[in-house]
Symmetry: C2
Subunit: 333 residues, 2 copies
Amino acid sequence: MNDIITLDFGSGGKKTSQLIEEIILPAFNNDILNSLMDGAILNGHKKIVFSTDSFVISPYFFPGGDIGKLAVCGTINDILMCGAIPKYLSLSFILEEGFKIEDLKVIVNSIKETAEVCNVKIVTGDTKVVEKGKGDGIYINTSGIGFLEVESYGKDKIEDGDVVIVTGPVGDHGIAVMSARNNFFVDSSIKSDCMPLINLANIIFKYGDKVKIMRDPTRGGLATTLNEFVERTQLSIELFEDKIPIRREVLAACEVLGIDPLYSANEGKIVLIAAKSIAEDLLSDIKSLPEGEQAAIIGNVTSSYQGVVVLKTGIGGSRILNKLTGAQLPRIC
Amino acid sequence: MNDIITLDFGSGGKKTSQLIEEIILPAFNNDILNSLMDGAILNGHKKIVFSTDSFVISPYFFPGGDIGKLAVCGTINDILMCGAIPKYLSLSFILEEGFKIEDLKVIVNSIKETAEVCNVKIVTGDTKVVEKGKGDGIYINTSGIGFLEVESYGKDKIEDGDVVIVTGPVGDHGIAVMSARNNFFVDSSIKSDCMPLINLANIIFKYGDKVKIMRDPTRGGLATTLNEFVERTQLSIELFEDKIPIRREVLAACEVLGIDPLYSANEGKIVLIAAKSIAEDLLSDIKSLPEGEQAAIIGNVTSSYQGVVVLKTGIGGSRILNKLTGAQLPRIC
């Protein structure tokens, strides 16, 4: 095997086969993938969830993860947020000529480990290679299929008086990537929160339709996701600034970088809206998991305004939080 | 709306929403996509087929199609080749900063038209933007789900005496793209054969397990696909050079470009192996479709050799056809 990716690896011929047989199949070894058909034949389910994401994060190794781990978490988490248990993933690489085989092996191993934790199978895939200067090392698309568990989630279920819960401190992923990209905070302890949300989601699923909607606030951060929950509805969200968990070091980095942590991407958090009647029980269940220890009720739904998110500041003021404008943090995922 | 894609369009914020609402949703208008969840909730099926492909073709407009049409045909055709009826597609763009919105609209329209012809819904998607010089205009990933119709296809079904059928002349796509890329043959009539194989597949499905395996010979061409059928088996394929349909102008272009048409990509052809007993009936059914008019029986399976493809030449000689070695035609799909 070469040390670097050459155009041959994308030809569909012998080099493509070698890449598949020496790196891909040994990592994801399962009968469905091993059959090397043009697609995977799978057991289905009455209701399925289908999701896709392309990942172009720069740099592709970052504190707390890499593009491989992110690509699995991203799609698995999207499926979970729709109320389904993720089952199968596809995996498609766009590699730039000159990309190190050694780096590919590390990334493939991250994919394998993350998928295994979630009991998800990589069942089909594709590899393309583009000339040097037409990519940036590695881009990955994952698409996934899950079996629907809770069918009731949707913004039309949100009611006046519901509460907003976040499962942990916000902004970590965006700040970790920005730090890595700029070589800021070399000694910093800030890591991406990139992780599969399967354990948290399994707890939330138990509350059935008492949970109205949930989402992992990735690009655009907490503020953009909450706006999506209420835009074009008759309801709004009041958010209490001093209730929102944010790590001290993330807050400090945000000040230096001029970034608002409420718009910084998360890759291991859930924000959800739930009925007030079950909110405390749900919160305490979430807090029982290590990844939910710092969960908090951070706001509530109100009909006082329409379609907006209002931040109540610590000193008693209030301001409208819009969706993210501009590209505060390009290529964060 | 701007004239060109800027990094903001990939931010997950307001510009991303604008792109989705002004270009994506109007084209693919359906209730599932319109819900704008992180994934699509779909009616499933007992057995499903799942396939993925990323498309990096250069140039993204070529004679006979564009990257949008190709991205839909590519994944739909892979699903058909596994014996399933394609139902749902995901659509993920990686756009380069500076890409023309006008070009995006043309490509989105091709996607819409091709998906409609096949009665396939675009149900979920994603858009990422990379900086100028980190992409090449547009890369597209499509993944797709189909409902299984014929479960028996596989190389383990191939038997001594079976015949090899191709549904039309080979090599068109590769040569059309090479011509466009090099501005060769400006006045040439060579067009890509890029098309959905749904009508051909529907005819083939009727023959059940009398058809042993089928594939659309894309990257690596006819020779590579036939090698994949018999590699690591006790059987081999004898191919009759003078039976293989190739357009005269493609053959001429191949000679100029130094390309073997048997290794040139196809995007609208099927090569299959079928029981001898039904071969003539199947061939005549295929020929009844406009896209199958030039179909031919081009070879047969034999146990005289093991795991190889042997080309019987017009003058009575024979040579081994290997899988494609090297990147004869990079970024052909």
